[in-house]
Symmetry: C2
Subunit: 160 residues, 2 copies
């Protein structure tokens, strides 16, 4: 993962895509969000979603999975080139999560992360703080999911 100094506002990373099959939608819903329109095609069709719809928490969790595994790939590649790898801090949370359009069975969602703001931490000079807009876009190019994440990123030269 990059250090704070390697990151600039506007940088965008495509982290991967996932097809929400009926099977994965129902499996997540049975565990974590057992509402009718997430569990049954016919109930989904009768609902405002218009079809078997993925739980919003499923969409967020899949986005997290792709961001983590893409970050791990980048870290492995940097390590293989002999570069130092930054270890990012845990996220304290996020803002403005929006489920903009339904994600229905068969939809393929591509996730991306774009840097919106960067600042250094006054109380902890070894850390920078970034905000990134994480998004999901379906196979028709429609934005379906968005949230503004906060992250702590180590500085290569604290106070520098």
């Amino acid at each position: 993962m990059p250090f704070f100094e390697d990151i600039a506002v506007g940088m965008r990373r495509e982290v991967g895509s996932f097809t929400f099959t009926a099977e994965t939608i129902k499996k997540f819903a049975a565990q974590f969000d057992p509402q009718r329109f997430h569990l049954d095609e016919e109930e989904g069709r009768k609902s405002l979603f218009g079809g078997l719809a993925a739980s919003g928490w499923h969409i967020g969790s899949v986005c997290m999975k792709l961001m983590v595994t893409d970050g791990q790939r980048l870290a492995r590649e940097a390590a293989a080139r002999g570069e130092p790898v930054a270890v990012w801090g845990p996220s304290p949370g996020f803002r403005e999560l929006r489920w903009i359009k339904p994600v229905l069975a068969g939809d393929t969602i591509s996730f991306a992360s774009e840097i919106e703001s960067l600042r250094t931490s006054e109380s902890r000079p070894e850390w920078g703080i970034l905000q990134a807009r994480n998004t999901g876009t379906n196979q028709r190019g429609e934005l379906v999911f968005s949230f503004l994440a906060t992250g702590f990123v180590p500085r290569r030269s604290p106070g520098g």
Copy 2:
């Protein structure tokens, strides 16, 4: 579930509790958040979390599960009393999600939902819009998780 007219600011509902065992933490992490401190006790102890820590998305998903199942219980009870049951709309999203303290293996988190604001929809008079603060509190009474959810609730007498 209640209708818009049955809800008042400040109403609070305890929706249940869940013990995050090492097994459930690792199972979720392997599927959706494969970071070291969510997968391995020793890596968790070496991390800022200080122990095997639940993924933030796991905490949110468990909160959702408890809110949905508690809502379904209330709806069944109302139906058994012969009362009309309101069907809530899907949530468009939420704001200000915060992971305030780590949730470590063995922690029991109690979730609650408290109404923060209520208003009627101008464009859709059959719906009211609520904001609810959903929280998780650990067995030591410490707030560990919070987000401000938005929901659409049907009105018993639209425009009334």
